[in-house]
């Protein structure tokens, strides 16, 4: 597992204060103050196999998500604290055959995860025994990756169990 730290924070404004009030002469509520604070918790780089396309899930103070891996990589499942520290690559999907897009675990997850107990569940859009995606499970500490199901080969865009890339 790869671990990285130190979020880069960009404070746009931090002024969530001060509706004003003049008493005695009548009330003058000030206009809305809608400043927000944007924080870049983590910037993916080449070694992170970034390009996330899905949303996150939150458990306690830990965010979990997936990356597609961009054009050259197979994607990951990652965790990062809500303060941006402790970025952890929980699992990197393995390389697949160029011609069949097949491998043992799946590749390029484009959807988010769900969490049940300490188990994360997700789908991969490619890879698996036929190259058409998998359903997988993974413990929140990065151990115990299991490919639960490999979708079958598409034939003229049809098969018996659904093209995962359209369903995820």
């Amino acid at each position: 597992m790869k671990t990285k730290n130190q979020p880069m924070k960009t404070y746009i404004k931090n002024l969530f204060l001060l509706p004003a009030l003049v008493a005695g002469l009548g009330l003058i509520p000030a206009g809305r103050v809608t400043a927000q604070t944007f924080t870049n918790l983590h910037s993916f780089n080449y070694s992170d196999e970034g390009n996330p396309q899905a949303g996150l899930i939150l458990s306690g103070t830990t965010l979990y998500g997936t990356t597609t891996g961009g054009s050259w990589d197979q994607g990951t499942v990652f965790a990062v604290s809500t303060d941006g520290t402790g970025f952890t690559n929980l699992y990197s999907f393995t390389a697949y055959s160029i011609f069949l897009s097949a491998n043992s675990d799946g590749a390029n997850p484009q959807a988010g995860l769900i969490l049940s107990g300490n188990t994360l569940y997700g789908t991969a859009g490619y890879g698996g025994s036929s190259g058409d995606g998998t359903v997988f499970a993974l413990n929140t500490d990065g151990t115990g990756f299991t490919s639960l199901y490999s979708f079958t080969t598409l034939n003229n865009s049809t098969n018996s169990d659904g093209p995962i890339r359209l369903a995820d």
Partner: protein, 97 residues
């Protein structure tokens, strides 16, 4: 996106320092509303804004001295609400975290 308290969390597919996307958070401050009610003012803000305290000061000139408003809020129609009598020439309120 997911919302936890007053913070949105999300991902960006591209951009960031290396162009491979980001994980980000966006803090959405709670809105404090002040309305007159006879000889009082009623300050309200959402109850999901956990950890915020209503404070007031009579002068914003630095160094402004902010004091926690007492009594504390009660929940009315899903909003934290504090009622205070109008006094003096001016008073300023804020939510502090």
């Amino acid at each position: 996106l997911i919302l936890s308290g007053n913070v949105l969390y999300g991902t960006a597919t591209y951009g960031g320092s290396s162009g491979y996307g980001t994980v980000f958070s966006l803090f959405i401050p709670p809105q404090l509303t002040i309305i007159p009610s006879g000889a009082n003012v009623i300050s309200t803000w959402p109850t999901n804004a956990a950890g915020f305290t209503l404070q007031s000061t009579t002068n914003l000139v630095s160094p402004a001295v902010w004091s926690t408003v007492s009594p504390g809020p009660i929940v009315v129609n899903g909003q934290n609400a504090v009622t205070n009598p109008i006094s003096g020439t001016q008073k300023f309120y804020r939510l502090s975290q």
